[in-house]
C-alpha cells in the first residue's frame, strides 16, 4: 500500500514539468517575469508586452504542449500535422505564419487614424519617406556583419520602420526563425522612443530651428478624406502588389472611419477586433521565444546583433527624418520646423508627441502635434511600402 503510494507520487513527479525543466527554461521564465513586471509596474507598452511576456512564460513551461517549435522548423511546413497535433498556441500562430494578424491590426489602425493633417500638408509624405532610410541603412549594416542571410537582414532592417505589425508581417514572410527577437526589439524600441529620439533631435537641430511656429493647417473636407483611402489603395497596390495586405487593410479601416456610414464596423475595427488580434499576436509572438529555439547554436549572438541593429535602425530613421526636415526648413525659408521630421519613423502617436514635447521646450507657444501627425502617419504608409519592396526583392 505504502509502496504503491510512493510509486504513484514518483510517477507523477517524473511526468511533471519539474522533471524536464532546464537551466535555459528557468532563465527564460525569469526574463518573462521581468517583462511582466515592466508591463504592469512600469507600464512599458503593457497592451503588447503583457501578452508577449505571458506567451513567453507559457512556452517555456515544459510539457505544457501549447507550442511545438519542432512543427514549425521543418521545410516545407506540414500544416496537416499542425492542425492535428498542434497545441493552442500552434494554432493561433497560424495567424502570424500565414500573415493574417498584422493586416487585421492595420485594419484597426486605419480605423483609428486621421489622415487629415497629411492631406492638408501632403509634403509631409517626404518626411515619412526620408525616415525609411533607417530601414535600408540597417539592411546594409546587417549584411556587412556577415552573420545574417539576405532575408534575415531584410527582416531585421524593418525594425527601423518603427511599426510592430509591419515588422511581424515581414519577418514571418522572410525569416520566421527570428520572429521573437525582432518583435521584442521593435516593440521595446517603440516604447523607448521618448528616450531614444530627443537627444538625436537636439543634436541635429539648432534652437532657432526648433522654435519655428508652423502655419495653421487648412481644414480638410469630408470628401477629400473619403477619397484618400480609395485612391491611395489603387495607386500603391498597382505599383507594389506585395504591399497589398498592409496598405489595403489600413485603407479599408480608414474608409470605415471616414465614410461615416458603417459606424458599427468602424467601432469593431478600432476596438474589439484590434484588441482580440493583439492578444493572439502578442501571445504567439512571445511563445516563439522558447528555450528549444533559443538553444540553437549561434542564436544568442544573432539576438544580440538584432538588438544593436534595431537601435541603429531607429536612430538612423530619426536622424534622416530630421535632416530632411532641415532641408525643408531651408527650402521653405524657415516655414517648416525640422522637429516634425523625426515623427516620420511612424511609432504612432508616440513619435509625434515627442516632436511636440521637444518643440514646446524650445518655444512654449509652439504646438507641433498636428503638424507632426502628418509625417507620423505618412511613416506608417512609408514603412508598409518599404516592407512591400523588401518582400518583392528578397522574398
Amino acid at each position: 500500500m505504502w509502496n504503491d503510494f510512493i510509486f504513484a507520487i514518483k510517477e507523477l513527479a517524473l511526468e511533471s514539468g519539474f522533471a524536464k525543466i532546464t537551466l535555459l527554461h528557468f532563465v527564460l521564465i525569469v526574463i518573462a517575469c521581468v517583462f511582466i513586471y515592466l508591463a504592469i509596474a512600469r507600464k512599458y507598452e503593457p497592451l503588447l508586452l503583457l501578452p508577449i511576456a505571458f506567451g513567453m512564460l507559457l512556452a517555456n513551461l515544459p510539457l505544457g504542449g501549447l507550442m511545438h517549435p519542432e512543427l514549425w522548423d521543418v521545410s516545407p511546413i506540414d500544416y496537416n500535422l499542425i492542425l492535428h497535433n498542434g497545441g493552442l498556441l500552434d494554432l493561433l500562430y497560424l495567424g502570424v505564419k500565414l500573415g493574417i494578424f498584422p493586416p487585421l491590426i492595420f485594419l484597426g489602425i486605419g480605423a483609428m487614424t486621421d489622415f487629415g493633417p497629411l492631406i492638408a500638408n501632403p509634403k509631409s509624405f517626404l518626411l515619412g519617406a526620408a525616415a525609411q532610410f533607417g530601414i535600408f541603412g540597417t539592411f546594409i549594416g546587417a549584411m556587412a556583419l556577415g552573420n545574417f542571410t539576405e532575408k534575415q537582414a531584410g527582416a531585421i532592417a524593418i525594425i527601423g520602420g518603427a511599426d510592430g505589425p509591419t515588422a511581424i508581417w515581414l519577418t514571418s514572410k522572410l525569416a520566421p526563425e527570428l520572429l521573437g527577437p525582432i518583435a521584442l526589439a521593435a516593440y521595446s524600441y517603440m516604447a523607448l522612443v521618448p528616450i531614444i529620439q530627443p537627444p538625436i533631435m537636439k543634436a541635429l537641430t539648432t534652437k532657432k530651428e526648433r522654435e519655428v511656429v508652423m502655419e495653421q493647417l487648412r481644414p480638410v473636407s469630408k470628401l477629400e478624406k473619403i477619397l484618400f483611402p480609395i485612391l491611395v489603395s489603387i495607386l500603391v497596390i498597382l505599383i507594389l502588389p506585395a504591399a497589398a495586405p498592409l496598405v489595403g487593410m489600413l485603407m479599408l479601416g480608414n474608409l470605415f472611419k471616414e465614410s461615416g456610414v458603417v459606424e458599427r464596423l468602424n467601432e469593431t475595427a478600432q476596438n474589439a477586433l484590434i484588441n482580440i488580434v493583439t492578444i493572439f499576436l502578442g501571445l504567439t509572438v512571445g511563445a516563439t521565444a522558447s528555450a528549444d529555439k533559443l538553444s540553437q547554436p549561434g542564436f544568442g549572438l544573432q539576438a544580440l546583433s538584432i538588438i544593436i541593429l534595431g537601435l541603429l535602425a531607429f536612430s538612423v530613421g530619426t536622424a534622416s527624418g530630421l535632416l530632411f526636415g532641415k532641408l525643408m526648413y531651408w527650402a521653405t525659408g524657415g516655414k517648416v520646423n525640422p522637429l516634425i521630421g523625426s515623427a516620420g519613423v511612424s511609432a504612432v502617436p508616440m513619435a509625434a508627441r515627442v516632436s511636440q514635447v521637444v518643440g514646446q521646450k524650445a518655444n512654449p507657444q509652439n504646438f507641433l502635434l498636428m503638424h507632426a501627425m502628418g509625417p507620423n502617419v505618412a511613416g506608417v504608409i512609408g514603412s508598409a511600402v518599404a516592407a512591400g519592396v523588401l518582400l518583392s526583392m528578397l522574398g
Partner: protein, 119 residues
C-alpha cells in the same frame, strides 16, 4: 555587398517614388474638389438663403424631431447656467441644432487628456 547596396538604393527610390506619386494624387484631387466646390458654392449659397427665408419653421421642426430629447437639453442648459452663474430667467433656448462631427480624432484625444488631467 554590392547586392546589399543595390537593394537599399532601389528600395529607398521606390519608397520615394510611391510617396511622391501619392502627394501628386492628393494635390490633384484636392484642387479638383476645391475648384468644383467654388463653382457649386456660388449657386448653392443663393438657394440656401432663399429656402431659409421662405420656410424657417419647418427647418427647426425637423431639427427638433431628430433630437427630441428634452432631458439632455435641460441638462446642458443647466450646466451652461451654472458656468455663467447668472439668474435662470436670463437664458432662453431658441433653437437646437446638431453640429457635424468635424474635430480630428487627435484633437479629441488631446482634449480628453486635458479634461482627465483636471479631474
Amino acid at each position: 555587398m554590392d547586392r546589399a547596396f543595390n537593394v537599399a538604393l532601389v528600395g529607398i527610390i521606390v519608397v520615394f517614388i510611391v510617396l511622391v506619386l501619392i502627394i501628386l494624387l492628393i494635390k490633384l484631387y484636392s484642387s479638383l474638389i476645391t475648384w468644383a466646390g467654388k463653382n457649386k458654392g456660388n449657386t448653392a449659397k443663393k438657394t440656401t438663403i432663399e429656402t431659409k427665408e421662405s420656410n424657417p419653421v419647418s427647418e427647426s421642426n425637423h431639427v427638433m424631431s431628430v433630437d427630441n430629447n428634452m432631458e439632455i437639453v435641460a441638462v446642458i442648459t443647466a450646466a451652461v447656467m451654472a458656468c455663467m452663474q447668472g439668474s435662470s430667467s436670463s437664458l432662453r433656448v431658441r433653437s437646437i441644432k446638431r453640429i457635424g462631427h468635424t474635430t480630428p480624432i487627435w484633437n479629441i484625444a488631446g482634449r480628453n487628456e486635458q479634461i482627465l488631467s483636471k479631474i
